[in-house]
Structure formats: C-alpha cells, structure tokens
C-alpha cells in the first residue's frame, strides 16, 4: 500500500482514477444494460438491422413511411419495440391487405421467424420499446393458473369471453379468440396492446401476472383442455346452448313423437 500512497499525488493520478471509473461504469453497464443492445455482436447486430431495413422498405414502408415515421395509412413505428413487430408480423396481421377494414384480421404469417427478427431489430433500432419476451417470461414454470383466471376475468373477459373464445366490439371490430395463439404472442399482445386492445405494461400487470394469465389460458383454452361435460358447443354460453336445445334436443323429441304417433293400432278397413 506504500507504493499507492506514495504515488497518489502523481500528476497522472487523476487521469488513472478517471479511466478506472470509466472502465468500471462501462463494465457495469455492459453487464446490466438491457439485453437487446449490449450482448449482441456489434457487427451481426448492425447486419440484422440492415437486412430488416431492406425487408421493411419492400413490405412495410408504403404505409408506415420510409423511416417508420408513419403516414395517413399506417401509424408511426418509432418506439413500438421489437415485441410489437414480433406480434403483428408473427400472427400475420402485418402486412395488412388494407387499412380500411374495421379491424386487421390474423392470417398465416408472410415472413419466417428469421425475417421477423430482422424486421424487429430494425424497428427496435428506431427508438426504445418493449423487447421480445423470452421463454422464461411466458413459460409455464412457477405460474399460478387459478390466480391467472382471476386476473383474466378481471381484465380480459369483458372482451375475450370467460375462457378467451372472443367477443364482439363496436362497428364490426372484435376481440379475437385466443385459441391456438402462442404464449409468446399472448405475452406480446398484453405488453404492446395491439389494435383495440389496451396495453398492460409491467407496471399494470407484472411479469408474474402475465405468466399466470397465460397459464390459465393454457389450462382452459389450450390443446390439452378437457371438456368434462361433453361437447363444449363453442364455449359461447347460453346462445349456443339454446340453439342446441332447440335443434337437437327438441328436434330429436319431435322426431321420436312423430315415430310413436305413426306406429299405431289402426282399425282394419272393411
């Protein structure tokens, strides 16, 4: 320690301390900064952005503007984040056929996942926004489906129905059915609030809450969901049940009545 105390008044000491402090801050930043910026290889990252930009210019710029600034046909994409791109393009909603419809429907995706990632990287480079969630965030580990059910009924069922079968909104708009939507896309939808949906950022619905909601949907509206009572009739409630009761219930009974009435002991004609 003698050496250090002897040289601490050296003319260059301040400079060394400054450099150390900078290195320390930089190092810490590199460790703790958001993953999408810091960890990726600089050159690969810029290449991806470059590719994304090319795709964007061909497929998206006509509506969203050449720099993502938006036009009268499409909103600005500055700051929407990679999650929004992954959701919109991944569910096939983008590219949209027209901006005039009441709502843009989901359809088979036009781009593959690698291209979607490139597009997402480009849009993310325009301004900070929510990143694509990781499996750890939306996966089933540590999720409470019952809690998720409560959250779903409180926040989502008004539009999406009790178990996410979808529902109507005003003027031809609708909350789509959540059947067959991947957990990642559900997470991204909650995060970014596409189209008529409000967004549920982590301050409103924490990461754990989102995970619970996804676990609930998986339990009641997933591939392995069982319907203990038989056919679920679309899970739409009394309207489809009433239709079934009339057509198949009463219909069958009337058919039986016709059958019974037709079989009778008729007096023989003389």
């Amino acid at each position: 320690m003698k050496k250090l105390s002897a040289r601490r008044r050296h003319p260059l000491a301040a400079l060394v301390v400054l450099l150390l402090a900078l290195a320390c801050t930089g190092g810490l930043y590199a460790v703790f900064a958001p993953a999408d910026k810091a960890q990726a290889d600089e050159t690969a990252q810029s290449l991806t952005i470059e590719e994304g930009k090319k795709l964007y210019t061909v497929g998206c710029a006509s509506c969203h503007g050449t720099g993502g600034q938006g036009t009268s046909d499409g909103p600005s994409l500055v700051g929407v984040g990679a999650a929004a791109v992954d959701f919109q393009v991944g569910t096939g909603r983008m590219p949209a056929a027209t901006s005039q419809a009441a709502q843009i429907p989901d359809k088979p995706a036009v781009y593959n996942q690698a291209q979607i990632d490139q597009l997402a990287a480009y849009i993310a480079s325009l301004g900070a926004g929510p990143a694509i969630p990781t499996e750890e965030q939306y996966g089933p580990e540590g999720a409470d489906a019952a809690k998720g059910g409560e959250l779903f009924r409180n926040n989502c069922a008004q539009c999406h129905n009790f178990t996410g079968k979808g529902g109507a909104l005003t003027h031809g708009k609708y909350a789509p059915s959540l059947e067959g939507v991947t957990p990642k896309h559900i997470y991204e939808a909650m995060l970014t609030g596409p189209q008529n949906m409000p967004s549920f950022p982590d301050t409103t619905l924490s990461e754990q809450n989102k995970k619970d909601v996804i676990a609930y949907l998986n339990a009641v509206n997933g591939e392995e969901t069982e319907s203990p009572g038989g056919l679920s009739l679309g899970g739409l409630g009394p309207v489809s049940e009433g239709l079934f009761a009339w057509v198949f219930g009463l219909g069958a009974l009337i058919a039986v009545a016709v059958w019974v009435a037709a079989r009778t002991a008729k007096a023989k004609k003389s």
Partner: protein, 545 residues
Amino acid sequence: MSTTTTPESRARGKAPAGERVADWADGRLGIYSLAKANMRKIFPDHWSFMLGEICLYSFIIIILTGVYLTLFFHPSMNEVEYHGSYVPLQGQLMSEAYKSTLDISFDVRGGLLIRQIHHWAALIFVAGMFVHMMRVFFTGAFRKPREINWLFGFLLLVLGMFTGFTGYSLPDDLLSGTGIRFMEGAILSVPIVGTYLSFFLFGGEFPGDDFVARFFSIHVLLLPGIMLGLVVAHLILVFYHKHTQFPGPGKTNKNVVGMPLLPVYMAKAGGFFFLVFGVLAAVAAIATVNPIWSIGPYRPDMVSTGAQPDWYMGFSEGLIRVMPGWEINFWGHTLVLGVFIPLMIFPLVLAAIAVYPFIESWVTGDKREHHILDRPRNAPTRTAFGVAWMTLYFVLLVGGGNDIWATHFHLSINAITWFVRIAFFVAPVVAFIVTKRICLGLQRRDKEKVLHGRESGIIKRLPHGEFIEVHEPLSQEQLYTLTAHEQPKPLELGPEVDENGVRRKVKASEKLRAKLSKGFYGEESQIPKPTVEEYKEITSGHGHH
C-alpha cells in the same frame, strides 16, 4: 262394484290376490267407477298432440333430477376457499353455493350428468311449452271451451321461465351473477319504489348475502309447487274437455276418433316417457350445458362478454340491448327510460299472445264449442297474427344475441342493433301480410284441387294434337277434409235506425268490432270454398278441365 265377489265365486276358493287388492282399494277409493269412466277415454293420434306430453315428461324429469341436486347443493353465500378437484380454481375465494356446484360437477358420483340432464331438460321443457302453445294457437284449439286451459298453459310457460331464471342463478357463477345484476338494474329503474324493491329482494345493497338462499326457496318450493298444481289442473281439464282432433271423415264436433286410454294410449304414453328420458339423458351425456367451472365465481367487479340469459329470457335481453339509453333528469331524480321501457314491454310481449283468444272470440262473436281443429290456412288472420308474434319474438332474440351474430357472421354489432330496432316495428307487419297472402294462396290451391283434382303429372296428347295434363279426382275422404271447415260471415253493424225510425247510437267499440270482424272474415281474408253446385257443374259430363 265392490259386490263383484259373489258367494258362488267364493265357494270355488279364494279370489286371486290381485282381485282382492283391487276390491280392497275400490271399497275405499271407488276406483272401479273411476276406471270405468276413464279407461275408455279416447285420444286421437297425431304427433303434434304429443308436444304437451314432451313438456309433462321433461317436467317430471326436472323434478327427479332436481331432488338429487338438492341433496348436495348448499344454498349459502358464505365465502370459502376452493380446494377441490378442478385445478384452475384452486385457492380461489367463492361462495359456498358455487363451491358445492363445483363439487356436484366433479366430486359427486353422477353429479355432472344429473346436473346436465336437469339443465338441458329445463331448456327443452320451456322450448316444448313454446311449441305446444304454438300448436294450440295455430289450430285454434284455444277456442271455447278451452280458454281457461289456454291461460293455465300460458301461466305454466311464464312460471317455467322464472323457475329457470331462479334456477340457473343459484350456482352464483359469474354469468348468472351478471344476470342477477341485470335484474337488479331493471328493478332499480322502476320509479319511486325501485330502490326499496331492490333492497327488499336482496336484503340490502346488491349482492348481499341473501339472494341465493331466497332464490333457492323460490326455485325448489314456491314456483314448482304452483306449477305442479297448474299441471294437474291442466291435465284434468284436458280429460274433462276431451281432446281436440283435426278435421276428417268421421270426425265431428261431437265425437273423438282415436285410441282408448287403456291399454293402447297408456302403453304409448308410458313408453314415450322413457323415450323422452332417454333423449334428454343422451343430450346431457353428449353436450355440456352451463360449464360453471370455466365461468368462474361471481364477483360484482367482474363481467364477461357473451353474457346472455338462457334462451327463454333472451327476448328480454334483446329488448334491453337494442333500447337507446334514454334518461330523464328532474329535481335530482333520474328516470332511466332505457331500462324502464324494456321492463314494461317485457310483459306486454307475453300478454299479446295470451289475450289473443279472448280478442278473437269477441271479434267473431262466436259462442259455440269447438272440438274440431282449424287448419291454419283456413284462419288466415289468426295464423298471420301468430307468425307476426313469433317474428317479433325472434327479432328480439337476435337482438339479445347481437354480439354472437356479429362475431359469427362478421357483421357490425351496431348494424345488427339498428336492424333490430327497425325490425321490431316493421318485421311483424311484413310477416302478417306475407303469412296472410300465403294462407289465401293455400286456400285457392285447396279449391283448385277440390274442383279439378290432383295434378297427376301425366301428359296426354289428344287426337287433334293438343297436349293436356290429366288431373286425378280426389277421393271422397280428401274432398271432405278440404271442405269441412266453415267460413263465417263478418259481423254486421245492424241497422242504424230502430223499428221506430229513430237513429240508434252506435258505440265506438261496436264499430271497431265490425271492422275487425271484416278483417277476420271479409272478402280479403278468405277464399270462398267450393260449393256443391260448382263441383257438380265442373265434374258432370266433360271428363277433364
């Protein structure tokens, strides 16, 4: 008749056990004379006469399954934490009523099947009553002497609706809770007394802790008790009046053509009960009804889209969904017309069909008994009214399910709502006019058939080259069936001056009655049926026409 056991027969040894039991019962209940009077009661055969039976049997099945459900259901709103078999609700807080319904569904042996039979049977019971009522309506079976039985049947329909409503509200799930909230809103919209009524019903602020227990008593005791009494009265009157029959050869206003109660009809009816039970059980085994586990427990701060009542309450949902949200504010009080007007129209829709028989008998002035049914085409005004009413009912059902129509037919919910608003007034009128035209067209067709025979489809070429279609004359039975109905003349106002030449005062109601009567039986409402002279003139001599 207890004297049938004569000394002679006793001498030959004891009578068979069955006969002795019957004798014993007859001495105390008089069953022999009862049986003698009723065993040969005749019932005509037609499938549409079995619609009432469908209702009766579903009602019995509802009672049987309902008793089983009461053994396991706890009508209590105490809050408990769920730790049963259904994983996605583990640890959730819910009322005991909801929890016990979950337990019935998942942990009671046969519970879910019985619950589903109960609910499906209820839906089909009310649908059956609806169709049964329409059969009675369109065939004119409500005419004298059956007006009171028509009212009993109507009351059964209304009580059935409310028993259903109180029943599906019992599990205290999110869907039925929303329905109760809807009802509370309707009660609150009543001026002046609404708030008091609501507090009285719920024992304070909504939802309170009382309504499940109260609805339970109403659902299992009060309403079914009244219904059971009405069903018995309904059946006694059917026995007393004897059954109506369709017109046909050998069938008159003074006889009933069909099969005797014993043994034929009893066997048929008994068998039919099991067929109805079988169909209901099969439906319940195939399809889910009201899956309360996916709906979740009721909490007043939650609501889901697609919240509709069971179908028989759907038209009230339609009334409220399409009604503009009008309200009037004065002196700090709000009159919620957007809810109150639908609440007032709700009973009017039902009453419209209930009072029709009395209006018809007043308009037509017909005081005679009728046991022969009308073919709907031969009563065009009545048939048109019935179809107009059903159209209104269906339009309101569309309004009640407007969101499901919107999502499944890719329509705008606003467009559907506006369609229903306009169709509420226009569609019944259009349906009335169209139905009347169709009935008259069918009457013309009947006339044509009677006079010219049935089109055989055989084309014949005559020697001089002309092609004609051969018409086959109808059989005597068919001719009778097509011409048996009577065609009343419209009521006349009568002379405007009495025998002394003094002007008589004609009351407004008389004028209205004469006008309506003309609407029922005037030239534009019935095609004169072929007369014997017409028939003879056409069929005599020249073979074809």
